[in-house]
């Protein structure tokens, strides 16, 4: 099931919430786990087994790691847990990719069945691994209650598309949390904003980019930039919208998740961008890969190696395809460049220049991200920089600009904090006006959902 669907909003959500609010104390946990199982099984029931296996397996291995004191068997158990978790992820996500890559290396084609990717597998695998790592490092104690761990591991708000919530962050809330109406109100507000970002902005921006991408033959320089700008905005509203919906739903259930996006397009450098974009993933790789590898403490050469490993993996996490690796390595190189060369100049530049610099590099990055084949990537970049473009400006640019200009303006406003700050002021001074705006956004989003047979979420493939 996806959040941005009529079935979820008008059937699943009211029925589930009613049950959840009616039952007392710990029974809520049972309702939540059962509800999450329905949510997860809906559409792909066979993979429910996998998701539950992952939960039970990591629950048990958590207990084991907690119990065993000896360093060497402890380490062996850790490796065993990591291997099984990555094996599951690899089997579904990277197996075809590895076979195809190996095949093309040796010039043969290896036939293999195509299994659908289980929803959220990358997210729940990483979530469960963070739990295991934290136990291993002694940061947390293992959860002895299977039901409580089940709530953490299977909870539907962050199941399908993140954020990758850490056990340590919500340990307290798993034990006891406040579920009340005013928290529900906060959750509703965040949920509606997320839904509107996804359905009204992201899906409509996607239409523009897809049209430009589907153009036969050459496009002009400006059209190419317009297209990737639309995608830049689309992916932000899509992904952050989905995170917002997850955080909002979490609030309705009494959980406080940390924010996953912090206005990344206002960043003044690429490294700042990655502290604001998909925060839960960036910090995951930092804590569980980069730092264990030695981070930047073991000399420049090791640092460069570590950065490149981490970013190639970050890229690969987003999808089993070489363009994602390229995208990751692109960021790895940019971060190194920034650290060792650019930081001196960048610090001295005016804020506007810093932001423009970051935004342009991020836009170029999305070209690698959004186009699977290297040839097409080169062609699109060629169009952006005039090499394979049909010209600088053409009629189709004016057409796309005209049909997208309102969306673009809204997008630019909505990806900066100002709009939200104003809205928060309105919430205090004129609550009814703010409610009216929220309801209006909700109604428009619902109109889109009803009209389309529902859009599937862009990030679900990851």
């Amino acid at each position: 099931m996806v959040f941005s669907s009529i079935f979820f909003i008008f059937y699943f959500l009211p029925v589930f919430m009613l049950l959840y609010y009616l039952v007392p104390g710990r029974v809520k946990d049972i309702v939540l786990v059962l509800g999450s199982m329905v949510f997860y099984a809906w559409g792909e029931p066979v993979y429910l087994v996998l998701m539950l296996f992952s939960a039970v397996f990591n629950y048990y291995m958590g207990l084991e790691l907690d119990r065993i004191e000896d360093p060497s068997p402890r380490k062996r158990n850790l490796v065993f847990t990591i291997v099984i978790n990555l094996l599951i992820l690899g089997f579904f996500k990277y197996y075809g990719f590895l076979l195809d890559s190996a095949g093309s290396l040796f010039g043969i084609s290896i036939p293999h069945p195509e299994l659908a990717l289980p929803i959220g597998i990358s997210f729940y695998t990483f979530k469960n691994l963070s739990y295991i790592f934290d136990i291993y490092k002694g940061k947390i104690a293992a959860q002895r209650n299977l039901l409580t761990f089940g709530v953490y591991s299977t909870m539907f708000p962050h199941m399908a598309a993140g954020p990758i919530v850490r056990y340590a962050d919500i340990e307290e809330q798993l034990r006891s949390r406040t579920v009340n109406l005013s928290k529900m109100g906060i959750g509703v507000e965040i949920f509606i904003k997320g839904l509107a970002k996804k359905v009204i902005l992201a899906d409509n921006l996607a239409l523009i980019y897809n049209q430009i991408l589907a153009t036969d033959g050459r496009i002009s320089v400006l059209t190419a930039w317009l297209g990737i700008f639309a995608y830049t905005m689309q992916i932000y509203f899509d992904f952050s919208g989905y995170s917002d919906m997850a955080i909002g739903l979490g609030k309705m259930l009494g959980f406080d998740f940390q924010k996953n996006f912090d206005y990344p397009y206002t960043s003044g450098s690429v490294s700042e961008f990655w502290r604001r974009w998909h925060i839960s993933l960036g910090s995951w790789f930092r804590d569980y890969v980069y730092i264990p590898l030695g981070g930047n403490r073991a000399g420049t050469a090791r640092h460069i190696r570590n950065i490149l490993i981490v970013w190639a993996l970050t890229g690969l996490w987003h999808g089993a395809s070489w363009n994602f690796v390229l995208w990751g390595v692109y960021y790895g190189l940019l971060l190194l460049l920034e650290k060792y060369v650019l930081s001196r100049f960048l610090g001295a530049a005016p804020a506007l220049v810093q932001r423009l610099y970051t935004f342009l590099l991020v836009m170029i990055g999305w070209v690698f991200f959004s186009i699977p084949s290297f040839g097409s990537i080169a062609h699109y970049l060629g169009s952006m920089f005039g090499v394979s473009a049909s010209g600088f400006l053409d009629r189709s640019f004016l057409y796309y600009l005209r049909s997208g200009i309102i969306l673009f303006i809204i997008s630019i406003l909505a990806c900066q904090p100002n709009l939200q700050i104003r809205f928060r002021r309105l919430m205090r001074t004129r609550p009814w006006a703010a409610i009216l705006i929220d309801i209006l956004l909700f109604v428009i989003a619902v109109a889109y959902l009803v009209s389309s047979s529902y859009h599937s979420f862009l990030y679900q493939q990851f």
Binding site: V46, Y60, E64, I68, E69, D70, P73
Partner: protein, 186 residues
């Protein structure tokens, strides 16, 4: 011997609960409950993955068998049985690309009721057949789009897919039950 002392040493440091269970995982190959549980978990996972992997394959049933069984158990015989000329015409599929086929189509050209099962020799062949079967669905939608609303509804519910080396196209009011009948055979 060495093992035992190690355990002993630890049990003095640790509370009772841990020491009694930690025996096995201390690096020995002795069978302990925790080892059994781990092996069991891995076995469950392996069985599950294997089952999933196999589920994409289909039993190797001859087209003759499928044909006779489908004709008897489903309502497809109400349509008209079609031959290789029609297979070429509607699907651009040559008979000798297949290991046999079952093709029924409604008599009236204005009806979209259809049932096709083709068996390919290998998975690459199945992929190629699957592509053309999908192309047929697209072209049907193109022909009836904006004009035949009932036909469009049926085409929207058509069940088209690939299982093992079999490729199928079922369209019509009973397409789901035809597919279920087919799936129960392979």
């Amino acid at each position: 011997m060495k093992e035992r002392t190690a355990v002993l040493k630890r049990s003095t440091q640790k509370e009772k609960r841990t020491s009694s269970r930690a025996k096995g995982s201390g690096g020995s190959f002795r069978v302990t409950p925790s080892l059994v549980i781990k092996i069991l978990l891995v076995a469950i996972l392996a069985a599950y993955l294997a089952a999933l992997y196999i589920s994409d394959y289909a039993k190797d049933v001859s087209m003759d068998q499928i044909t006779s069984s489908m004709e008897a158990s489903t309502g497809i015989a109400e349509m008209q049985k079609r031959g290789r000329g029609d297979l070429r015409r509607f699907y651009s599929i040559e008979e000798d690309e297949t290991l046999g086929y079952l093709f029924y189509k409604a008599v009236s050209p204005m009806s979209v009721d259809e049932c096709l099962i083709v068996k390919a020799a290998n998975s690459a062949g199945a992929d190629s057949l699957y592509e053309r079967v999908n192309a047929h669905l697209d072209s049907q939608k193109n022909v009836f789009g904006g004009y035949g609303t009932d036909q469009m509804a049926l085409l929207g519910n058509a069940s088209v897919g690939k299982k093992g080396n079999y490729v199928y196209y079922f369209c019509g009011a009973g397409s789901d039950s035809v597919r279920d009948a087919f799936f129960s055979l392979i």
